[in-house]
């Protein structure tokens, strides 16, 4: 036992509850340690209490709303919960530091990077101006930021997301704290950037011997970075253990189900080569955006033309699923929105059963829309919060003249199809969970009896276990009703599971297209290969419960 070693962070039976007359417990007595030189991953789905844990450790809880009610949080043996605000303020930034999820919003947009960086030194060290500047440059170099003086003079919006996250890491590690808390630091980044940042954190942690508490929902990231794992659920620690032990032999059902829900990167064998008719053909579709907001005109800048979609062509056959994958800004969502005519394409044709719908209006558009339905990314926003879901569901059929009784009957039917209780029809969206709402959104699309469903990141906002269920539902519906599906996602694992064909996009152009099994297994294009390579947790086979490459024992 390493009994002599004081943990950098030791959480002991921590209880946290909301304030107010009717307090609810958010953390129900959790305990774990983070030792120096160790990366501990705190894994859990939304509502598990993992972020609250990190805020307690930093003494950053909004105390009017949430406050610790028991236990201890020891930083190098010193209890943060009982320390004075002045003391925790002195510790923050110096002894414990934090990197947040959103690099876009975690830096102050109106202050120069240099100043924000210098503040760390100003707050905790007595240094002269030039020394401080020098220290900032060194910190930037340590996180491999190019041209530190330029970064120093920049404002946050002038840096890329990855650069900003590097600045955040530089800021956190500037004073060589004993503990670094990283709260989903790569969730908002594209996979390729994510991989770089993970590597950087690992590297710096090894150099400085820092203890890292790494919070994530992504098992893939856990595989890539953790020494030990701590699985949380509903404010409780389910189990703790070294990463490979825990992944290979999870002790609790919850962990097991969590692991089972992770889609495999390897697509299943293609289910037959049944080539149905082409229901949707898109040819040479382009969409240009003119970025000319008044603020840009403020500095006399001419309108900036962005080609979001550039000459994209593809076919969708009956009963098949075409996946469009790509990183943010690749134009994949714009393709979907153009197909749905939520955006008007700049050029190109969209043939629905041979009829071009790229410019139709009025009745023709209305007829086309009935055959095409969409499932949006965020189920919280795609349902009108002010009306009962029955109203949302029947809106479409009513528009096409169906009478109420028949709609109600069908709505109840469809509710059952998507796995919801028809009695819930009179409830409001906020009375459902995120996964349920996505099912309702799917039900709404189904009621229109479309031929094609366009799913735009339809599972990205969902927790991994829910995600798996919704994917199954979509796939099942597609098969049963012989629907075609256009499935837009950034997640290669999801694409691998649901798509028959995959189209990889980058900067508005198609880089590679083909059957999923081929594209994902043997990428021809280097970009596709890089994407696959960057997918987190590639080294672990979640299905087999062992590292990739070890032959499956028969």
């Amino acid at each position: 036992m390493k009994a002599a070693l004081t943990p950098a962070l030791s959480v002991r039976n921590l209880h946290v509850a909301t304030t107010g007359t009717n307090p609810t417990e958010i953390l129900k007595g959790i305990s774990f340690d983070v030792n120096p030189g160790e990366i501990v991953c705190l894994v859990g789905e939304s509502g598990s209490g993992k972020s609250v844990t990190s805020l307690v450790a930093m003494d950053l809880l909004p105390k009017q709303e949430i406050r610790p009610t028991g236990g201890a949080v020891l930083l190098n043996g010193e209890d943060i919960l009982t320390a004075t605000p002045a003391r925790t303020k002195a510790l923050r930034g110096a002894e414990m530091a934090m990197v947040f999820q959103e690099p876009m919003t975690a830096l102050n947009p109106v202050l120069r990077i240099g100043l924000q960086m210098e503040e760390v030194f100003l707050a905790h060290r007595k240094m002269t101006g030039p020394d401080r500047r020098q220290a900032v440059f060194e910190a930037f170099e340590a996180v491999q930021l190019p041209n530190p003086p330029r970064i120093y003079d920049s404002f946050p919006h002038q840096l890329s997301g990855g650069q900003r996250q590097r600045v955040m890491i530089a800021m956190a590690l500037a004073l060589k704290p004993r503990l670094l808390i990283a709260d989903e630091p790569t969730t908002a980044l594209d996979v390729t950037t994510q991989k770089q940042i993970l590597t950087l954190i690992r590297q710096l942690q090894e150099e400085n011997g820092t203890a890292v508490l790494f919070i994530t929902h992504d098992m893939g990231v856990v595989v890539d970075i953790a020494d030990r794992v701590c699985v949380m659920r509903n404010g409780e620690v389910m189990e703790t253990g070294p990463v490979h032990e825990l992944l290979a032999a999870p002790k609790t059902d919850y962990t097991r189900s969590l692991l089972a829900a992770i889609p495999s990167l390897t697509p299943p064998e293609p289910a037959g080569e049944e080539r149905g008719d082409i229901v949707l053909e898109v040819s040479a579709l382009s969409k240009e955006f003119r970025l000319g907001n008044p603020l840009a005109r403020l500095i006399g800048k001419p309108d900036h033309v962005v080609k979001a979609v550039d000459e994209v062509s593809f076919c969708l056959r009956r009963g098949r699923t075409l996946g469009i994958v790509g990183e943010s800004g690749s134009g994949k969502s714009t393709v979907a929105r153009c197909v749905m005519r939520l955006e008007d394409p700049s050029s190109g044709a969209i043939l629905l059963d041979g009829h071009d719908i790229s410019t139709v209006q009025g009745g023709a558009l209305m007829r086309a829309r009935k055959r095409l339905q969409m499932v949006f990314q965020d189920p919280n926003r795609s349902l009108n919060p002010r009306i009962p879901i029955l109203e949302s569901l029947s809106e479409g059929p009513m528009n096409y003249g169906e009478d109420r009784t028949s709609i109600h009957a069908r709505a109840a039917e469809v509710m059952e199809i998507v796995g919801l209780d028809p009695t819930g029809l009179l409830r409001y969206p906020h009375q459902f969970s995120g996964g349920q709402r996505q099912r309702i959104a799917i039900a709404r699309a189904l009621l229109m009896e479309p031929e094609i469903i366009v799913a735009d990141e339809a599972v990205s906002a969902l927790d991994v276990s829910v995600q798996a269920q919704v994917l199954d539902l979509l796939d099942q519906i597609r098969r049963e009703r012989n629907l075609s599906m256009l499935f837009i996602t950034h997640d290669l694992r999801v694409a691998a599971q649901i798509c028959d064909e995959v189209m990889v996009m980058r900067n508005g152009r198609v880089v590679e297209m083909g059957p999923a099994s081929e594209v994902l297994a043997n990428p021809k294009h280097p970009y596709t290969a890089a994407l696959i390579d960057a997918a987190p947790g590639r080294s672990w086979d979640f299905v087999a419960g062992q590292p990739v490459g070890i032959p499956v024992p028969s």
Partner: protein, 314 residues
Amino acid sequence: MIHYFVKRLLMAIPVMFFVAVFVFLLLRLTPGDPAIIIAGDQATQAQLETIRENLGLDEPLLGQFVTWMGNLMRGDFGVSLISQKPVLTLIGQRIGPTLSLALAAMSLTLFFALPLGVMAAWRHGKLLDRAVMIFSVLGFSVPVFVTGYVLISVFAVNLQLLPVQGYRPLSEGLVPFLQRIFLPALALASIYIALVSRMTRASMLEILQEDYVRTARAKGLNESVVLFRHALRNAAIPILTIVGTGFAMLISGVVVTESVFNIPGLGRLVVDAVLARDYPLIQAIILLTAGIYVLINLLIDLSYALTDPRVRYQ
């Protein structure tokens, strides 16, 4: 910048044209007769006819409008019907006190409202927050003239600390100027403090939820640095906006305040002009205040660039 400025000025033209047409029609289609004011109320019909003819008030409306617009284009705002002085001269005499009063009120407002709003947001939900908010809503709830009377009777009549009325231009010395501008500015600011501190609080509350505020705190910064360096600058845009749109409110306060404190400013000029049906004068003042409003809002839009670098470079 220049390009944007010019573009915005061009956009203001239809706005100002609408104002011009609106005001012109409002004045001409409503009853009232400047000739009576000139002739006095003991004048007979015959005396009035003579004067009306002389003022050109018997011409058709469209003709009057075209003449007026034509003159406006040449920068000629016309001559007051009543005093026969050029309208611009009259406004020139009166705009100084009004601007001084408005600026003084605005300075007092910012001096009180920003710290109050920041403190209230910082202590959100606590006693201090409640106190600041009640205090500011109270300022909003008492009519300006009542505030004015109370201030006069306390500070000027009873304590005799300050003059009871009047205005002295800054050119006659800072002390007399400040002595006389302070109470009216305070009375006027009382509404405005309420408005700006509420907006500051609301904007700060929102900003304090931002991730970068948490980042700043995570760096171990002092709360004052967090509030004023990190939060307030980001909260500035809504505050600036309310300062701009509040201009209209400032004018309405000015009209009443000027009466109570006997300040010879635009507010009284316009009330007098309306009561006297001095058409060219009313038209000019309303056009002018509308112009100032448009201009202030333009300046505020431009000032966004100073508070937010994204605006400057994007």
